[in-house]
């Protein structure tokens, strides 16, 4: 396992806010010094556009930009770097897949299988794909535990023409790791594709797209120590080849002619019209190196330990309800009994603790866990058991009066 105290020193946000307990990494993570330095270095020493300049700096930065595809491919074990498309984040990756499916792969009456408990970015693009293609959205039933139910999932294929399964690998509200290898195998057995939202998974668990045998994987850099504004779409090469770009313009075409014909560049460049987030790509590469150095097995193990420790302490309190017993990916979802989540979070904020409340962009979740607002505490490699202890002490003492006092 890694040395957390040493890790903390790498994060300027932690050094600059020594008393802040930041438990909102599922929204966005802090960035280590090495990532920040990489971005600054680009602006201070290597500012240029890529693939266009006939000069040394541009050539060198273009190479680093291209090489980062290899880093990412290695990180998720893609077969080849051409399967890595740079996007603006998980949401834009998910939209590229959904838009192409609507156009190319979906017909009237086909089924898009997703779940009611997921993030809006995972569901809304498919609502639109259904609207445009005449396909139908169906939801995998979830038990009250919020755990993925493989049997109920496989039943969804009976008598239905499921064309695509769109699910996250890790749920952003309950922090459960879904059994993606089995989910993908069942989808393929029934002739469906599988598009995985990895926004909460890639930062936390070792990802191997070949072993999982998934068709698409979308994720964001900013949740995994990298800069915001850059994300990744992994796609099986044959599928990416069949897909069209969503944006057209400079950088993605090889030639175009007065008769309006376009010769696009090859996959993945054909998807990347316009000047990309160059410093974001370089920063993401650095973030991946940081995570690789820690070892993703360790990162996963540590997230599980933190969530397990936190939940075991909360279970001992009689004023708290926990909604995700056994959560794995650093996410703990709970309420202080009798106190509206936002009131509790307002009090926590006064105590220097940053959490997120609400429905966490999963606006249909209440049908599963029976409440429509929760507190989500999400932890990452730089959080400590000591922070959890301090937080639990605050939770223990939380009363409605104190919550109200925090605005008086």
């Amino acid at each position: 396992m890694f040395d957390v105290e040493k890790i903390r020193k790498d994060f300027p946000m932690i050094m600059n806010h020594p008393d802040l307990i930041y438990f909102d990494s599922a929204a966005t993570s802090f960035k280590p010094r090495s990532v920040i330095d990489t971005v600054i270095d680009y602006y201070e020493h290597n500012n240029c556009n890529i693939h266009r300049g006939d000069y040394d700096i541009s050539f060198a930065v273009s190479k680093r930009y291209d090489d980062t595809r290899k880093t990412i491919a290695r990180f998720i074990n893609a077969k080849r770097p051409e399967e890595i498309v740079y996007t603006y984040g998980a949401t834009s990756s998910l939209n590229i897949v959904a838009i192409n499916f609507a156009k190319k792969f979906l017909n009237k009456g086909d089924v898009i299988l997703t779940s009611e408990v997921e993030h809006a970015s995972d569901v809304l693009p498919w609502f639109k794909a259904a609207e445009q293609s005449g396909a139908i959205i169906k939801y995998v039933p979830f038990p009250k535990s919020g755990r993925f139910d493989l049997e109920a999932y496989e039943k969804c294929f009976e008598n239905e023409n499921v064309k695509i399964v769109a699910l996250p690998h890790v749920s952003n509200v309950l922090g459960f790791i879904y059994p993606m290898k089995q989910i993908a195998a069942i989808a393929h057995k029934h002739g469906a594709y599988i598009a995985v939202d990895g926004a909460q998974a890639v930062p936390h668990i070792k990802m191997d797209v070949q072993d999982l045998d998934i068709d698409f994987l979308s994720f964001s850099s900013h949740k995994m120590l990298g800069p915001a504004g850059i994300g990744v779409l992994y796609g099986r090469y044959e599928l990416l080849e069949q897909m069209d770009p969503v944006f057209y313009g400079g950088g993605s075409n090889a030639r175009f002619y007065p008769d309006c014909s376009i010769i696009l560049k090859n996959t993945p460049e054909k998807f990347e019209a316009g000047t990309p987030d160059i410093e974001g790509v370089l920063g993401l590469g650095k973030a991946i190196e940081y995570l690789e150095e820690l070892g993703m097995d360790n990162v996963e193990e540590y997230g599980k330990q933190l969530a397990g420790y936190f939940i075991s302490k909360l279970e001992k309190l009689d004023n708290v309800t926990v909604y995700n017993h056994g959560a794995e990916a650093g996410i703990v979802t709970f309420n202080v009994n009798g106190i509206f989540a936002q009131d509790a979070a307002g009090y926590f904020n006064k105590q220097g603790i940053a959490v997120r409340t609400g429905n966490h962009c999963a606006k249909m979740l209440d049908q599963i866990i029976g409440v429509n607002e929760t507190i989500r505490a999400s932890m990452y490699i730089y959080n400590t058991k000591d922070e959890i202890d301090r937080f639990v002490d605050v939770i223990k003492e939380t009363t409605l009066e104190k919550c109200v006092d925090s605005i008086l």
């Binding site: 509206f340 989540a341 936002q342 009131d343 307002g346 904020n349 409340t357 609400g358 429905n359 429509n372 607002e373 409605l400 009066e401 919550c403 109200v404 006092d405 925090s406 605005i407 008086l408």
Partner: protein, 142 residues
């Protein structure tokens, strides 16, 4: 400035025992729904006004302490008022949460929120119901 103890009591009282929290199924009432996009607060306000005077205001929905108490208090404050008087009260309330000089006497129990401006992330909670009430007043004032 209102005493802290009194403010706490007012807020908890209006949160735990709101005077005006109920759904109205009466065709004479107009209603406006207002929900926050960034939190859970989700409130519908029902208003009956006749001859330029507010006869009754009720609200229902899901809200935190600040949202529920502020809406309930404002319902109390504008009931029985002329539309223009009610508008003036709401304007004083907005000045207060905007940290501007305001007329304390106009706001009565709503003075409990006189330090809300210090919690930037909660100002929204304290204005969701109020905006719905304002919308209804404007609706009647057309």
């Amino acid at each position: 400035m209102m005493d802290k103890e009194i403010k706490r009591e007012i807020m908890l009282d209006h949160y735990n025992h709101p005077n005006n929290k109920q759904t109205v199924n009466d065709e004479r009432y107009k209603s406006v729904h207002n929900a926050s996009d960034s939190c859970i607060d989700d409130i519908t306000v029902f208003m009956l006004a006749e001859d330029g005077k507010i006869k009754d205001v009720k609200f229902d929905g899901i809200g935190c302490t600040i949202c529920t108490a502020s809406t309930d208090i404002m319902c109390d404050l504008v009931t029985g008022k002329d539309l223009s008087e009610a508008k003036a009260i709401i304007n004083e309330y907005y000045k207060m949460v905007d940290e501007k000089p305001f007329d304390e006497d106009a706001l009565e129990e709503a003075n409990a929120f006189d330090t809300l401006y210090q919690q930037a992330n909660r100002i929204k909670c304290g204005t969701i119901g109020i905006r719905a009430i304002e919308d209804l007043i404007n609706e009647y004032d057309k």
